[in-house]
C-alpha cells in the first residue's frame, strides 16, 4: 500500500447527507470477480445526470470528496471503498461516517477525514467558488488547507499510523513473519495437510 503523508489535489463537493453504500456502488456491481475496475459503478445512479458534480467539466480529476454527514451507511460492502479509490479518490471528508465504512476505508488506504459541520460547509463554499483550488490534506498534522481555510480533522490513530507507514493489514501481519515461522515449526505432526 502506498504511504499517505501529505496529499494535494482538487476536491468535489457532494452536497448529500446519508449517502449509503448502495448509492456509492449499486449491488449489481458486486457480482464481479475482480478487486479493481469499479470506477464505472461509482455513484452509478447519479452519474447519468449530466449535472451531477462528478460530471461537471471543472470537477474532473478530483481526488478529494467532500461529502455530507452519515457517509457510507448501509450494507458493509468494501466495494464502496474500492470504487472510490478506482475513481481516483484518496480522501473522503465528511462530518460523520458510518462506522463500517470508516474502518473499511482505513483498511484499504482511503483516508476518512472527519471534520466538524462548519468546516464541511466552508469547504463546500470554497471548492464551489473556485473548483480548481488546491486542497491540501496533511495527515501527520491532521490538517486540511484550502484557500484561507486551515482546519483540523480527526482520524483513528491506528488508521493514521497505518496510512503514514503505507501498511495494509497483511503487511502488518507479515511483519510478524518470524513468529509465524516459529509457530509453524512447533505445530504437532498429527495436524492434517490438504495435499495428499
Amino acid at each position: 500500500m502506498e504511504a499517505f503523508v501529505v496529499h494535494e489535489g482538487t476536491a468535489a463537493p457532494l452536497r448529500h447527507s446519508n449517502v449509503d453504500t448502495d448509492q456509492i456502488i449499486p449491488a449489481e456491481y458486486l457480482k464481479r470477480i475482480t478487486r479493481t475496475g469499479f470506477h464505472d459503478g461509482l455513484f452509478a445512479a447519479w452519474r447519468t445526470d449530466p449535472d451531477f458534480v462528478l460530471n461537471r467539466p471543472h470537477h474532473q480529476g478530483v481526488s478529494i470528496l467532500v461529502a455530507g454527514p452519515d457517509f457510507g451507511t448501509g450494507s458493509s460492502r468494501e466495494h464502496a471503498v474500492w470504487a472510490l479509490q478506482d475513481y481516483g479518490f484518496r480522501v473522503v471528508v465528511s462530518s460523520r461516517f458510518a462506522d463500517i465504512f470508516r474502518s473499511n476505508a482505513g483498511k484499504n488506504g482511503l483516508l476518512p477525514a472527519l471534520v466538524d459541520q462548519s468546516t464541511l460547509e466552508r469547504l463546500w463554499e470554497i471548492v464551489e467558488a473556485t473548483p480548481d483550488i488546491p486542497v491540501l490534506v496533511d495527515l501527520d498534522a491532521q490538517e486540511i488547507r484550502a484557500g484561507d481555510l486551515v482546519a483540523p480533522f480527526d482520524v483513528d490513530p491506528a488508521v493514521k499510523w497505518r496510512l503514514l507507514n503505507g501498511l495494509d493489514d497483511i503487511a502488518i501481519t507479515l511483519s510478524h513473519a518470524a513468529e509465524i515461522d516459529r509457530f509453524e515449526e512447533q505445530r504437532p505432526a498429527f495436524k492434517p495437510v490438504t495435499s495428499s
Binding site: 457480482k31 470477480i33 475482480t34 478487486r35 479493481t36 468494501e78 483498511k107 495494509d168 493489514d169 497483511i170 502488518i172 501481519t173 507479515l174 510478524h176 513473519a177 513468529e179 509465524i180 509457530f183 509453524e184 505445530r187 504437532p188 505432526a189 498429527f190 495436524k191 492434517p192 495437510v193 490438504t194 495435499s195 495428499s196
Partner: protein, 468 residues
C-alpha cells in the same frame, strides 16, 4: 488455570499476542475456500505480488453456484460460470488443491472437510462462509470470514482477531422419540433469539448433546450463526474419535495416539466460567418448524401460527406482522394445516448421509403427495455414492422425489434450484430469510424427518403423524 474449550483452542494458536485491547494474531490450521468469496481475495494477492503461504493447509471446492442436474454441461448463468472459472484458474495459479464439479470429492465445503477427516478437534478452521461454524462439532474453533480476511489468511495463514465471549448451552435429559438435532437448535434459537449469540462462541454440552452422532452435532453447530454467534463447539469424545479414525486425513499410528491424548484434554474444565449460560430440558422438546422469515421465528409443530399481538416487544411484533404477510399466513392456523409446494432435503445443515437415511426410512414404500416437488440433494459426491450403495437413491426415486447431484442447491438462490414467487417450501436448510431460496419464495425450516413426512402429506407433518 481453568478455561473453556474455546479459550484453550484460542490460546494454543496465538502467534503474536496483541495485548492492550489489540487483536491477537491467531494461526489458522485449515482454510476452506469456494467460488463465491475467493475471487477478489486472489485478485488482491496478485495485485500485491503475494503468494499463498500454505496451499497445503488450504482446500477449495465448488458448491454455491453449481447446478445439481446436467453437471457435465457448461454452467448456464454467466456470473456463476465466471466465478467457477476464476476459482479454477486461481487454484491452478496459486497451487491450491481443488475439488471441481464432477470430481469424486466435490461437495459443500462444510460437508467435504469433515468427511475427509480434515476437520479435527482443537484446530482453527476458517472459510469465507458463515456456516463454517459446522466444523465446531469436532471441538474445532471454526468461523466464517469476509473476503479481505480470506486474502489475509491466504497470504499469512493467520488472522488478527479480538477474543470472543463464551456461552454455554446445556441440553440435558433424554430427547423424546422423533426429536432431532435440528429441533434442538431451532428451539435454542427461538429461545435466545437471532441476536442472542452475538459476539459469542457457543459451547453445546449436556447429556442430550453427548448422545448425538457427529452428523447431528454438525447440524447443531452449523446453525450457531443463526443465533448470531460467531462459532459453536462441542467437546470431542469417543463419538468424535470413532468418526475420525481411518478417514483419509486422520492421523495414523503413534500420531493417532498423540492426537487423541491432545484432543482429550481440550474439553472445558469443570470450573471454567462462561460469560453466559443457557439451560434447555431435552425432554420438553418436540419437532420444531419456523413460521416466519428469520430462524428465531419457530414453534413446535403442534402449535398454531402466532398473531403479532402475541409479542409484547414492539420490534418483535412488527417483525411478526411483516413475516406473516410475506409468508402469506393467517394467525391461528394450525401449523399442521400449512400446505407446501416443495420439499428440499439437503444443505450443509442436513445434507449428510445420516440425514438421507432418515428421509429414506420415511419415504420407503410411500409416495410423495400429488403436485409436491421434492428435491433430495446430497451434500457431497461421497454422500451421494454412499446413499446409492445403500439403495437410498432408488427409494427416493420410487417415492417420486428428485435425486440430485451434490451442491448447495436450493439452500440459497445462487444456482438454478430456486423457489418461484409465492412458492412455499419445507426445507432442511438453515435460513428462511425473505427471498433466500428464490425471490418471493416462502421457507419453513424443518428437520429431515419432518421434511420427509411433509413430502408424503403435502402439509407440515411429523413422522409420528403418518399412519403406519
Amino acid at each position: 488455570m481453568s478455561g473453556t474449550m474455546a479459550e484453550k483452542v484460542w490460546d494454543a494458536h496465538v502467534v503474536h499476542p496483541g495485548g492492550d485491547g489489540e487483536p491477537d494474531l491467531l494461526y489458522i490450521d485449515l482454510h476452506l475456500i469456494h467460488e463465491v468469496t475467493s475471487p477478489q481475495a486472489f485478485d488482491g494477492l496478485r495485485a500485491a505480488g503475494r503468494p499463498v503461504r500454505r496451499p497445503d493447509l488450504t482446500l477449495a471446492t465448488e458448491d454455491h453456484n453449481v447446478p445439481t442436474v446436467d453437471i457435465d454441461r457448461p454452467i448456464a448463468d454467466p456470473v456463476s460460470r465466471a466465478q467457477v472459472e476464476a476459482l479454477r484458474a486461481n487454484c491452478a495459479e496459486f497451487g491450491v488443491p481443488l475439488f471441481p464439479l464432477g470430481d469424486a470429492e466435490q461437495g459443500i465445503v462444510h460437508v467435504v472437510g469433515p468427511q475427509l477427516g480434515l476437520t479435527q478437534p482443537g484446530m482453527t478452521v476458517v472459510c469465507g462462509d458463515s456456516h463454517t461454524s459446522t466444523h465446531g462439532a469436532f471441538g474445532a474453533l471454526a468461523f466464517g470470514i469476509g473476503t479481505s480476511e480470506v486474502e489475509h489468511v491466504l497470504a499469512t495463514q493467520s488472522l488478527p482477531l479480538k477474543p470472543f465471549r463464551t456461552m454455554a448451552v446445556t441440553v440435558d435429559g433424554e430427547l423424546p422419540e422423533g426429536v432431532t438435532a435440528k429441533d434442538i437448535i431451532l428451539a435454542v434459537i427461538a429461545q435466545i433469539g437471532t441476536g442472542g449469540g452475538q459476539g459469542y462462541v457457543i459451547e453445546y454440552r449436556g447429556s442430550a448433546i453427548e448422545s448425538l452422532s457427529m452428523e447431528a452435532r454438525m447440524t447443531i453447530c452449523n446453525m450457531s450463526i443463526e443465533a448470531g454467534a460467531r462459532a459453536g463447539m462441542i467437546a470431542p469424545d469417543e463419538t468424535t474419535f470413532t468418526y475420525l479414525k481411518g478417514r483419509d486425513h486422520a492421523p495414523t499410528g503413534t500420531d493417532w495416539d498423540d492426537a487423541v491424548a491432545y484432543w482429550s484434554q481440550l474439553r472445558s474444565d469443570p470450573d471454567a466460567e462462561f460469560d453466559r449460560e443457557v439451560v434447555i430440558d431435552a425432554a420438553s422438546l418436540s419437532p420444531f418448524v419456523t413460521w416466519g422469515t428469520n430462524p428465531g421465528q419457530g414453534l413446535p409443530l403442534s402449535e398454531v401460527v402466532p398473531s403479532p399481538d402475541d409479542f409484547a416487544d414492539e420490534v418483535q411484533r412488527h417483525a411478526a406482522q411483516r413475516a406473516l404477510e410475506y409468508m402469506g399466513l393467517t394467525p391461528g392456523t394450525p401449523l399442521r394445516d400449512i400446505t407446501v409446494d416443495t420439499v428440499f432435503v439437503g444443505s450443509c445443515t442436513n445434507g449428510r448421509i445420516e440425514d438421507l437415511r432418515a428421509v429414506a426410512d420415511i419415504l420407503r414404500g410411500r409416495r410423495v403427495a400429488d403436485g409436491v416437488r421434492v428435491l433430495v440433494v446430497p451434500g457431497s459426491v461421497r454422500v451421494r455414492e454412499q446413499a446409492e450403495a445403500e439403495g437410498l437413491g432408488e427409494i427416493f426415486q420410487a417415492a417420486g422425489a428428485e435425486w440430485r447431484e451434490a451442491g448447495c442447491s436450493m439452500c440459497l438462490a445462487m444456482n438454478p434450484d430456486k423457489l418461484t414467487p409465492g412458492e412455499r417450501a419445507a426445507s432442511t436448510s438453515n435460513r428462511n430469510f425473505e427471498g433466500r431460496q428464490g425471490p418471493g419464495g416462502r421457507t419453513h425450516l424443518v428437520s429431515p424427518q419432518v421434511a420427509a413426512a411433509t413430502a408424503i402429506t403435502g402439509r407440515l407433518t411429523a413422522p409420528a403423524d403418518l399412519a403406519v
